[in-house]
Symmetry: C2
Subunit: 283 residues, 2 copies
């Protein structure tokens, strides 16, 4: 069992609110922080929505209403982090915002508090200098819809004390996650390191005119026994995310794919399952 | 329905014997050819083994014994191909051998006969000039253990008449395959174009020391619902094949992976499921 009981989540956006809610739902003492009273109020509305989603998606499991009332939320950072065992940072994915957040955090947090970032794209070593405690700092990375996609990637930076890797893996299990432990930092963690080249390859086959979406998905399903092919995964991930990833890669195959999903889908409001249509139509 | 009845398979090796047997098993008139009487005799032994495998793996389906007796085998190319609707070439994967085979074939085959190559690594455009009939030449690519992994990739060269793409897709269905139709030639077809970058990425995560085999496989299974992760696929494909692919890529990540599978597995006779042990142990 981990020694982590009091958890503070910085940022009450999409992921931050889910991490806080899930931790409270599993019995941790949770404080959520955001930078202003308006942001805190918006975060509280997210918690209300999450309580309904949990009740609908996990019928008979736990008490979402109790989790809702148990969470403390504040825009006072010093008050939030007092006595915290763990601070999970889920602020916007910009290095300047992260660094500024950790500089302020380092001033007010107890020396023994563990810091973890939920960053998808930055490495612990990019952020560690701002934390003032590189040995107690690591990544704890959740997927969207945390209560359904319950993996948590735990990744150290070069200076992280390995004891905290074990500690956070145990904490992740305690809040209902399956921990995926990396032993060294890696952009994309494990999942995106596998998923991105796989989805890229599928995108290039389609955008290059080699085969159609249904053929490519069928091939993968038949050959590997997987329930879904790459374009079914794209529809779940969302075509805006697919576009954002592909368009930043200068390779001509990626550029062709980005241009084609923009023209054929995004410009027509077809963004994947979330909008009812992407590569496939959903009822 | 295709107009293909008489099928000639060139090469009685692992894949050639399976293609011939499967076609006969599904009622096609099949002649197998190999370059010498010794090679033909070895091919006949493969047919005997296949008849037993079919009976064991597909109990109550078809009549493997009838397929066995129905196949004609010869080392006389002109005799083999007389009146053939389709010649499927499955000779060794060396461009000189393929070209020499097609040059001889072009001299003796009827002008209307369709030629298809089972090549995994060469493109139709690499071979087409030697066929003398680029419009009637395309790729028809099977996986090993054709009766279990029943996909057949159908791929045209730049000069293939699209009518033969449709014709071969129908033929593939008639012999129990699920046709995967490409509309343009592509190294790796559909399946290996997806599988190779995916397996490469997994290999780099492991060889680079970022995460262990079980963690990487678990991540893929949990996140995508797939029954197997990349290292379970490696064990099926065989580690010798994995080594051969990785070692030809100059990228340091691939070289590290190749070196590690050689040292940790191949040099110790652990080649995957076939030897009872690879990344995992099999009972």
């Amino acid at each position: 069992m981990s020694s982590i009981n009091k958890v503070v989540v910085l940022g009450m956006g999409v992921l931050g609110s889910q991490i806080a809610f899930q931790s409270a739902f599993k019995g941790k003492e949770v404080t959520s922080y955001d930078i202003s009273d308006e942001a805190v109020a918006a975060g509280r509305e997210r918690f209300e929505v999450l309580a309904k989603r949990y009740a609908a998606d996990l019928p008979g499991v736990g008490d979402p209403q109790a989790a809702l009332t148990a969470i403390t939320a504040t825009s006072d950072l010093a008050e939030a982090v007092r006595g915290a065992d763990l601070v999970i940072e889920a602020v916007p994915e910009k290095i300047e915002i992260k660094q500024e957040t950790y500089r302020k955090l380092a001033e007010v947090a107890d020396p023994g508090t563990i810091f973890a970032t939920n960053s998808s794209t930055l490495l612990p070593s990019d952020i560690a200098p701002a934390t003032g405690r590189a040995d107690k700092f690591l990544a704890l990375h959740f997927a969207n819809e945390i209560w359904l996609r319950n993996t948590a990637e735990v990744m150290p930076g070069p200076d992280t004390d390995p004891a905290y890797l074990t500690e956070l893996a145990e904490f992740a299990e305690e809040i209902g996650m399956v921990p995926i432990v990396l032993t060294k930092e890696k952009a994309g963690y494990v999942l995106n390191s596998l998923l991105v080249p796989f989805l890229d390859a599928a995108g290039e086959l389609w955008a290059g005119g080699y085969a159609d979406v249904e053929t490519i998905d069928k091939t993968w399903r038949l050959a590997t026994g997987a329930p879904v092919g790459p374009f079914q995964i794209y529809d779940v991930v969302g075509l805006t995310t697919a576009y954002n990833i592909a368009s930043t890669n200068p390779d001509p195959g990626h550029q062709a794919f980005a241009a084609k999903i923009k023209a054929d889908f995004i410009d027509q409001g077809k963004l994947g399952i979330a909008t009812g249509e992407g590569f496939y139509k959903y009822g």
